[in-house]
Amino acid sequence: MKTMIFASRNQKELLRDPLNLAFALGFPLVVLLLLSALGANIPATIFPITTLAPGMAVFGLSFISLFSGMLIAKDRSTSFIVRLMASPLTAMGFICGYIVPLIPLAVGQSIICLAASVFLGLELSVNILLVLVVLLPAALLFIGIGLLVGTLLNDKQVGGVCGALLTNLSAWLSGTWFDLNLVGGAFKTIAYLLPFAHAVDAGKAALAGDYASIVPHLLWVIGYAVVILAIAILVFRAKMKNATL
């Protein structure tokens, strides 16, 4: 109950920040529209909607890290976290309170992105629902990154790491903007050592109904999500114990 009350506060803080809404919903939608328009005016199909839709959904999720990181970093900088640490809220209550409200936000963001893709020509099918499920581990991965970064850095640094570095990394190395096979070499190898391209490929496979291809890609994303979340929780608990949050 206490955790849910804290989670509700965090959800309100996130949704009442106009910048959050602009970046979470507006920015990926604008990029989706721009690339679709660009693709429509070029003879070759470089931005098929079946790639753009899951790609933009994953790109949009990268902003979830920014929101969760900023929320935690701001709570730390204003001593609000000291007030909560002196309260009966447990360490796990804290962590769940920060994680839980981001999940519906991430799902909502993916729904909007996929709905916009339907208007841009994506075939409406039951596989779109499967994409939402397949994107959940990626959502947890980005939430974990936000929790970790927000625990370690101040709000300005979180802005730099999550707002600039992570969003660019997840965009360029996801295979959304261009086919990774065209670049090949070390770039492709690095891209497939990271989880972002796997998240997009899992989404593409789900959209195409190629169910057998989903699992190998999804395992990469789940592996990263589990490891990053575990590290974030351990670091948060350690810093809470030492009162260095």
Partner: protein, 244 residues
């Protein structure tokens, strides 16, 4: 009967002793001020007593419960208004109050009723629906203390509650704090001599992690043969000898 009793309470960092074998007793219903220059150990003491920070050694008993062996029981009885204004910025005044009431176990109706009481008590009626980030510094401090009181704590920690406030806002907060005297135990840290003198039943002066002296303002003036309380503080805080 003591509300707080510390027993050789100590906090050490790598090369620093932030709080050094603190032995202190504070009576139930007392308003006790901790004074000291920056780095004296006041905030570290408050953080240990409010179970935010674990002591390196020693212990403290708050209303029969140890901060080391039973911190969860201690947390149910206390609340804190931290040094910096600690409010949820995008929540309204009422939502901030109800949030803290909920975290301390009040159900929705009880939280709503308690929020009403606090809004009346702290003169927050006109801004009850406003987001906390839109309030003035003085109003945010008021809200911060109201949030600390909404859980009906038996022990309240106020860490530099009037820091950065103008004279009028400070006097308004003094009035609010004075009204709490005798009802609950209050431990207040401050840099302002006149604040400690005006509000406190007793004052403890800390320097370099050690408790140098404890007494009423008048007792400390007499003890140091000083002309004023500020002079007494300077003598005690700057002195190297144990004065207790």
């Amino acid at each position: 009967m003591y509300a707080i009793e510390t027993r050789n309470l100590t906090k050490k960092y790598k090369n620093t002793v932030a709080v050094d074998n603190l032995n202190l007793t504070i009576h139930k219903g007392e308003l006790f001020s901790l004074l000291g220059v920056n780095g004296a150990g006041k905030t570290t003491t408050i953080k240990m007593l409010s179970c935010v920070l674990s002591p390196t050694s020693g212990d403290a008993v708050l209303l029969d419960d140890s901060i080391v062996s039973n911190p969860h029981a201690v947390k149910e009885k206390i609340n804190i208004s931290p040094q910096e204004t600690a409010v949820a910025r995008n929540l309204s005044v009422r939502e901030n109050l109800e949030l803290i009431a909920g975290i301390y176990g009040k159900d929705k109706k009880a939280a709503h009723d308690k929020a009403n009481t606090m809004i009346d008590l702290f003169g927050l009626t006109e801004v009850a629906k406003n987001k906390a980030k839109t309030l003035s510094g003085g109003m945010q401090r008021r809200l911060s203390i109201a949030m600390a009181l909404i859980s009906e704590p038996k022990v309240l920690f106020l860490d530099e509650p009037t820091l950065g406030l103008d004279v009028l806002a400070r006097r308004e907060l003094w009035t609010a704090i004075k009204e709490l005297k005798g009802k609950i135990t209050i431990i207040l840290t401050t840099h302002y001599m006149e604040e400690a003198e005006a509000l406190s039943d007793r004052i403890g002066i800390m320097a370099k992690g050690k408790l140098k002296a404890v007494g009423t303002a008048a007792e400390l003036i007499t003890q140091t043969n000083a002309k004023s309380f500020e002079d007494a503080f300077v003598i005690l805080a700057a002195g190297t000898e144990e004065t207790i």
